[in-house]
Symmetry: C2
Amino acid sequence: MREILALIMNNQLGKARSKILEQKPVDIAHFLEEVPLEKTLIIFRILPKDVAAEVFTYMSSEQQKYIVGNITDKEIRSILDELFLDDTVDFLEEMPANFVKKVLRSADENTRKLLNQFLNYPENSAGSVMTIEYVDLEKEMTVKQALVHIKKTGVDKETINICYVIDENRKLEGIVSIRKLILSDDDVKLKEIMETKIIYAQTLEDQEEVTDKFRKYDLLYLPVVDKENRLVGIITVDDILDIIEEENTEDFQRMAGISPTEKEYLKTSPFILAKNRLIWLLLLMISATFTGSIIKRFEDLLQAVVILTTFIPMLMNTGGNAGSQSATMIIRGLALGEIRPRDLFKILGKELRVGMIAGIALAGVNMLRLYFLSKVSLVIAAAVCLSLFFIVVLANMVGGALPIIAKRFHVDPAIMASPLISTMVDAVSLMIYFTIATRLLHV
Amino acid sequence: MREILALIMNNQLGKARSKILEQKPVDIAHFLEEVPLEKTLIIFRILPKDVAAEVFTYMSSEQQKYIVGNITDKEIRSILDELFLDDTVDFLEEMPANFVKKVLRSADENTRKLLNQFLNYPENSAGSVMTIEYVDLEKEMTVKQALVHIKKTGVDKETINICYVIDENRKLEGIVSIRKLILSDDDVKLKEIMETKIIYAQTLEDQEEVTDKFRKYDLLYLPVVDKENRLVGIITVDDILDIIEEENTEDFQRMAGISPTEKEYLKTSPFILAKNRLIWLLLLMISATFTGSIIKRFEDLLQAVVILTTFIPMLMNTGGNAGSQSATMIIRGLALGEIRPRDLFKILGKELRVGMIAGIALAGVNMLRLYFLSKVSLVIAAAVCLSLFFIVVLANMVGGALPIIAKRFHVDPAIMASPLISTMVDAVSLMIYFTIATRLLHV
């Protein structure tokens, strides 16, 4: 790579070009990230048009902005011609308004209309991720006619692996794979071989439902229809891979109390990073003072038996951990569709039992440790271990129930994870602990 | 669905059959899960052979076990004939040894040899997820010859969308898509149109590296070669979708302190669920007592100024939350390849700044609240807020650094998440708090 850069510095562009073209487009895009920004334009311009367009789709928005800002309208147009519509839309969605205008101005009228329509689909809808470059066929065609048609029009399509059979109103009637076409005899009509049990999405459907369909039916492509059931586009599995990772990232972030962001960590400023975390930190900090006020209410108890204070962190942590273990299992199960809200009571029953098993084990270990190793008095050891048992049982049930309840109220279950559950369980844990201690110690 | 069940109860199998066949195989498999186990066999047997085989791949291992245990060797063989090799391997990997034997006994010798070889690939290696049903071509073939060859052999292949060009030693020389074949002229030779910049995997490569390649290069298929670079199989993107979700689930579980399991929550017994969570709960419980011992060391301080105790939960929680926010960002970045271990110092610098911004904001809010709302004495409010600031800064740096350090030592970064970081940060938080309080209060 350094070699290529040296060639460019020495203006040996021809040599640099052939060296670069040994790479895959995504690798060229990564290489451009290491190059000083002002050099990227030179390199970008020596690439063949089709490669340049593909490299462009893999660039960071900063670089895309730089390129678009520094090339002519004619050059923009020639990139647009090579790009699939969904890639153009992806890139425009990240651009500020003046850049979008510049790009739209450079596009021909037809593309401009289409782009405007696509940019109007709600974010994360099937319409916003689909592409329109698919092969359409008619059911009265023979296999041979279909193949001729594909040969004529296929070069501009995102895929020819699956073709779509539509009627005169563009209503989707069937799908037929290129495999079926190749393996069938020339004069068979499409209506005899096309698949009519079609899985499809509607333009306004949420992308999460779309990914569920890909996952469930092991799809590579999914047709998208409008309200009148007319075929308007297809979604391809490579975009679905990206969406799945995005949604997992969102869940990871929400579960840690971070406002979700799609931007890479290293490319985000400390201010933005802090902003995304502060809301929850503040909220949880203030809720935690509630726990402090419970301690205050039992000040006399703690002053009389100071050693009780030393067990507070252990009890709170264990409760928090047990609760977030349950919550994580349920949140993940909901995300994968393995658990449904109607399973609430099954889950409560299960978590009750899990909590009792874990609670007995933890309380047992603790009893041995406290009584034999730390030589704590029996009654205090008993108070701690009894509390531990009840805290773990309760934490498991809270952790199991809250994500389901959130889902029922159409709130993202992922926010019912570790930070929130720990904070809630903390307060209740202390109540249990102090109540049991007061009873047993007769303070 | 109830309707179908009624038809079966009334022995109207023909009608039931055509009703069932309106469904997609995966939906039939789900339907069978709702049916009493003894009825599944009847339904399974009325399905056409190819549909039965596909339905079989979507069944739970319990049901697969039941089916295999109750059908004849001949029936097993006819299912095996229809299954792709990777699906057979998937299913056998979940079966107990005596079932594997029964299945292997039913297979013809060739299949048996292959299956034995596949079952010997290490779990999670490229070899264990690949399939061998791909189309191979030779570079001297013309497009026309290639298409004739595909037509003859394609019906048994998992895909014909990408074909593989190999030499006489089965070494991979190029790949050519069906699209390229269809769009090229009949008498062009494959060597002129095949792609020679090939992305491939080795049989022993870890599936995580394989998924990285799919993600990075937007692949639908990836060829797998052995040590001598001979083509031995291909991996398809639908299996990659499953692997990505599995690995995300593992990360979610590890990050909550749960031993990873692939089994669905609702299908796992409370004992297994408890077992998977207990190791970490125990470990963390015992570590948390260390925090207790710090409190014990400062007993005198707490007895003298009891109100200090009430801020312990808030300080510990905020530190834990800040630390796990950072850790989550870094763990996820590492998993997606956006962050590399060599970025450690960049991360520390960033988290230092994020921690200072968040620390100032939180300490500020807290100061106002304590001094004006709760009427706490100025010196105590100052001790609490100063501690809060240092705790948040430190927690951010610990949370940012530990996943990277884990990765460097080839430990899964995901275990450096919320539970472990909270426990570690707790102890340090208390040390900071008590030290500052002692200094400011002159106790």
